[in-house]
Symmetry: C7
Subunit: 286 residues, 7 copies
């Protein structure tokens, strides 16, 4: 039958091609929609961290989190949509070429050789993107957080799927590839803790040292400049951390608002020094 | 025969397609059921740890463990079900396309190239999931446990198949990828042990030192605030751990309830100092 | 011929399928039997360690070793049987599908893509299982042994094909993946050795120091609390290990029963201190 | 039909070949245009860093950044164009050979074997190029910046897709492969921070020390040689950083223009020494 | 022809199958013979070490080496024979199945997928075996040698193709995988060397110190308890190894029989101390 | 048509073969020419370093650089030509075999298996060659340069595509594989910098110390033995590098000709000591 | 035609097989000849090191180098010849089997699966051989040289393609795999350099110290026991290497014959001590 109607294959081909293109276009739209929905749902309510943060959230933090959520959804969505488009349109193109009886083997060969060559080297890139994707999905950190990314410690200035940009305490700007971050420590979630070790002489009166330190903790908690604004609970005096022939080390610990531990411990040190001076208890080499 | 009945292939195809879809649907349901059963059995009774914990379990711990078991079963099941669905439905789709004589080679090529490209980079992801799966299966740790995950040490706040979220003593929140955890140390299973090293002068009376320390141990065990609540056996005085020209080091050891070793050893240090002061035995640089 | 007898292919197919299933069932049974036999033989008499241990084995140790042997055979056998079943039944299923002229290419494609994707990530898992298999086969350690697994040191609490569970001296429970253990040190096989270094002053009488230490060694060996129960030979006095302007270091060495070296060396230190005190020889900083 | 007209296949082939060559030529031009556009857009406005730098940009910096932008676009474009040309022309060549019924299998075999052999070893090369590409795209650093590339720290002298050339403080020229740089610290973006630790005696008057240091900070800020030219805000006196029996450590911190921290801290040290000398406050071992 | 004689293919197949099985059986025997011969030759005369050892070999050592040679040949041969059998019989089986027109593709698919999955994980195993094979072939060490295997140092207790079992000085038994041993240090081949550093005061008479030490070396060589039995040449006095304001360090060196260096140097230290005491030359801190 | 003329295929084959050989020969010549040109251009003008060096180049350096350029072009060209020849001639050979209807599958199989086996192990080799190729192309270093190659530091004695041969300060000759060099530090490009730290007592007169050091710098610059020949600018006195209770550290810095920093700093130290002695300012422990 | 002459294919096959075997035999001989020639040329004149050594070569060294050259050529040739034989004969065997219409697919499958399984694990082995091959080709070291192979330092006792056997100063024999040696330091090529640091008091007369040291250097050079036999140039006195409040460090440097630096520096230290004693200049702690 086909041999008798020379136009038949062409017509059939044309029809098939149109059909393929329509299907591809529809599929692509559907894929994009699905991605948008999934990503929005993932960004909005699903992540562990956002729920965790709500506990201490005030209105402005909520607004900030909403903005971060929107950005995350957008960043993730754009890459997934690109991938979906490339796969669907690439498949459609190859099918059309095949239908036109144009040999696609040479093309596949060229692309394949290039693909393998690049593939080996591009692993790291894909690793970075996957790491970035999940990092966003799990909302591990955002702009403004103080994080420890292993390779660098500092304040996050920008987050993309491939890299995280930090600025450290010396003003150095760090570009860290997401795939090289095997664990992240975020200092800006919930609370931080400040420790001050107080080495007193071996023959100091343990009871009065403890009393001085505990009184000082209550003072700090009473201080409106610190309470709630910088610390979130009364400082605690732990027992004897270390024991030697020359000194006994007391430890004072206090929960602070996120990333305020350095400032609080500096203030604590000053006050402890003054209070012990007043009580006539000297400090010794720790 | 086929050439004579032009509708025959179509009819055959249609029939085959319906058959394929039905089989796929049935298979998927069966797979899900099997997964549910297997996962539940694995989570309920099979894990080593849960059996181990029963030894010291009280009612509330049992309830907690039941809840953890349920969550683990759910987490593991959801991923396995997704994988099963994707494989079964993907195979069905390809078979249908093949039956419709639509060429699937171009599609496979596109997906294949993408698959290889992503595959190299996604190894780490798969590794994380497999590690997480087995970690849950073996119940290595759960929310609330204090663990040493190598990259970070702290209290577990959340466990997913990909990451474990910890909070360390400084309040820093750590996100650790499960695949990077080659060994886990769990401090919250059964008991912990506190050690206090007591360096006494070279010419101290060994017998009386030992007596003081042993008496102190019995006192602690008699103290209702510690017995059972914080320590689980009478503190033991080990012999001479170290021998030099200036000091002899005695070691006091005590089994505590999980993760209470820091608190107990602080109390011990304080009491030893007081007791030795009373007995007139000085401490020296260890 | 085939075209004339339409039922022929069907009948042939049905026959072939039945044949295939029977063969598969037979093969599977044979494979399981072979595995059981091989594993039992491997666990019973072949391993180096069990033969080594016999040297010091008493009845109770023999019973323990028999139990360990049985468990090892079971653990190894179960996995090998699962693998054999999957291969034989999978092959049979594919052959049947093929005979039914159902296209298996799409199925293979789906499974293949998934297989490669997972394969990369699952290497570690397979590595763990292979390592665990050989570890069991060679009986490197068992429950109750004190081992150094690199990542953690402690008493083995459980051994599976994937992980080894240890409890260290602080009560921390460690889960170590078998594949990450490149070398294992087992302290519970045969004997251990305790060392005590004795630093005496530069002008001490070498002959009398040696005499004191040797006499003390004989006393310990004569002490029924230690002989056989804790130590397995008379303590030996090695010569001068170190030479400086302030001290000469003698070393006392003694073979103990497995894992008793800490206890024995503590006792030794105490006795050496007392004996040298009596002999009027002071100890100096080592 | 084809069998009857012997010239037909040749004519058809000739036609096809011409068509292929035309399409290849068109495609190549289109690809180059697209690359030029995309790269220009990426280099011009999209990068995070350039937007960030604008904040402190003066005219000359703008000119510099424009030049850098142009160079980046060119460097990236040239490689992408080469790749596009090779793929398109290679495919065209293979298709032509195929149409001429010249067997291409042997050629593919030779190239394939060579490709695999080289591919394994060339991974690092591809990695370097991909890293360099993204580094340029994200404008992580440029000629003249002081960077910490891990393997070496110094001033960037040249940037290519494969390597970055630095000169360190000792005059040593470093060639660092881009792929080996897992994180980059750029000291020339925005600002740097200088720290000077001031250890004062334990019994020093804390209030007057702080007063001296604060007064000194204001003086420096008032000094036109430093204000704006070298420092960008008034130096700040942090509280007590460290606390021991011999000293109290105050920390002075000041934001400087990029990479001026060494110079500023040297000047600060000199001034602090002089000021404390005048105030009669000695420095102690920190 | 084949279509006319229905029994022909069957007969031909049967014949071919018999032929295949005979060839396989013959090949296997030939392969085993060749392996036995090659391995024996490799173990007997070819290895570098055995020739080296002959230099100091006495009869009993020769017997020992012969036994070691026989064991090595056996260990290596058994694995190679297994591999040869599996390849030859596997090929024969597949060829027979193929001749019987049973489809072998599904079988190959199952085995292939399993093979790839396991292959990745089993690399380490193959690496261990290859390393063990060459280690035996080159006779790097044997039971009773004291070796440094990197991960552990001790006396070899057992050698298999996969692991080496050592016992260290503390009695700990180490299982080291052969593939993880990148370099081995064998202390039991030929000779060892003992060093003793002798720090004398800055103003000591260099000539008389040297004389004392040289005289002592000759005495040791004259001592029949040491000569030949423990040391293999007269101890040598090296010049001034180190030069400072407080001391001059002389070094005494002596070649001992393998692994006797610790014992010899202990004796040397004792004698040097005594000799210098007699000569009135004090030792100082080195 | 072909079936009727039995000689036709042979004739066609012969013709094709001759054609193939001619094309191969032509292609090979063209490839060699192109390689020669490209390599020459790359070596002559394109590299960053050669342009950089011109800045301080005198005639003899120019001659040296020309020689180095010629050698580099030759080294790179020879390998590329070998690769091109192998690919072109290999393809031609396979095509000829194919045309002669000789089965090439077995050959490809043998070569393929060998290729894969070797390929894995040869990665390092290819990596070395690629690294060497780019190193030459970018003219990172040449014979006579003093470089820091990570694994070894010394003077380059020879450069091949696979290794770099260095001789270090102790006369040790190092063979470093190019692929293991991730970053190179070249001390012989442009200039080096010598630093001398001068610790003066805490109460020293800062102004007069600075004056002494600056005067000394000018003297050195005036010294014709040093100016231009060894140093390339007046030595600079940096401010106070370090601040403690016992000393103030001044730093003197001077740009020298490449690799002369050790010699210059030795001379500087001697002069500073003498000058400060004369000025009555003592040095203290830094 | 073929169908009509039943014996034709057989005859043709027989002929082809004979032809194949003859070609294989010829090819193998040619390959061996080529390898012999290439390897001889590579070993004789081409290597960098041998040319370098000629500079200081005496007759006996030339003989030694000739012997080493011959051995190297043999070692390299034997492996290359084996590889060539295996490839040529394997290809011939497969081609013959193919001609005999024996199905070779099952054989290839078996060998292929085994090949992949072993290939992964054997990478290290191939790496070792390739490293050894190039090491020999470049004559990096030979028996009798003192080398630093990273994992071990000592005198080379044997070199094979897979391992290098060293004996270190303590008499320990090291087996180092060639592939694990990323860089080699050879101390036996050309010359070595001995350094002695001479710390003199801060107030010592620099001129007279220098004079004493320089005089001593000339004496050593005049000493026929050292000149040419042990040192190859007059010892040089470098300037002040280090500068502190307590000492000035002079450095004396001397080029020695290869590997004689320890012996020469010991002698130098003794002479410097004596000479400074005579000159009344004390040494201080460096």
């Amino acid at each position: 039958m086909l041999d008798n109607a020379p136009w038949a294959p062409l017509a059939a081909s044309a029809l098939t091609i149109v059909l393929i293109l329509i299907i591809a276009w529809v599929l692509r739209r559907v894929a994009h929609r699905v991605i948008t929905k999934v990503v929005n749902r993932a960004a909005t309510g699903g992540s562990l961290t956002s729920r965790f943060r709500k506990g201490i959230a005030v209105d402005s933090i909520d607004a900030l989190l909403n903005e971060r959520r929107r950005q995350r959804a957008e960043t993730m969505g754009s890459v997934l949509k690109s991938v979906a488009s490339v796969v669907i349109l690439g498949t459609a193109a190859l099918t059309v070429l095949d239908r036109l009886t144009i040999p696609i083997a040479p093309l596949l060969t060229s692309v394949g050789i290039l693909g393998v060559a690049v593939g080996f080297g591009a692993q790291e890139l894909v690793k970075d993107f996957i790491a970035g994707m999940f990092m966003l999905l799990e909302d591990q950190y955002g702009v403004g957080d103080v994080i420890d990314a292993g390779a660098a410690v500092g304040t996050v200035e920008a987050v993309t799927l491939r890299i995280t940009r930090l600025r450290d305490a010396d003003g150095r700007v760090w570009y860290v590839r997401n795939g090289t971050i095997s664990r992240v420590g975020n200092e800006s979630q919930g609370w931080s803790r400040a420790y001050v070790d107080v080495p007193v002489p071996y023959d100091a009166d343990l009871v009065s040292v403890r009393a001085v330190l505990e009184h000082l903790g209550e003072e700090l908690w009473a201080d409106t400049e610190f309470r709630e604004a910088k610390i979130v609970e009364t400082p605690q005096v732990f027992g004897v951390e270390q024991l030697s022939d020359s000194s006994l080390v007391f430890r004072v610990s206090v929960k602070t608002v996120p990333a305020a531990q350095a400032e609080v411990s500096r203030e604590l040190r000053l006050r402890i020094k003054t209070a012990l001076d007043e009580a006539g208890i000297p400090l010794v080499a720790g």
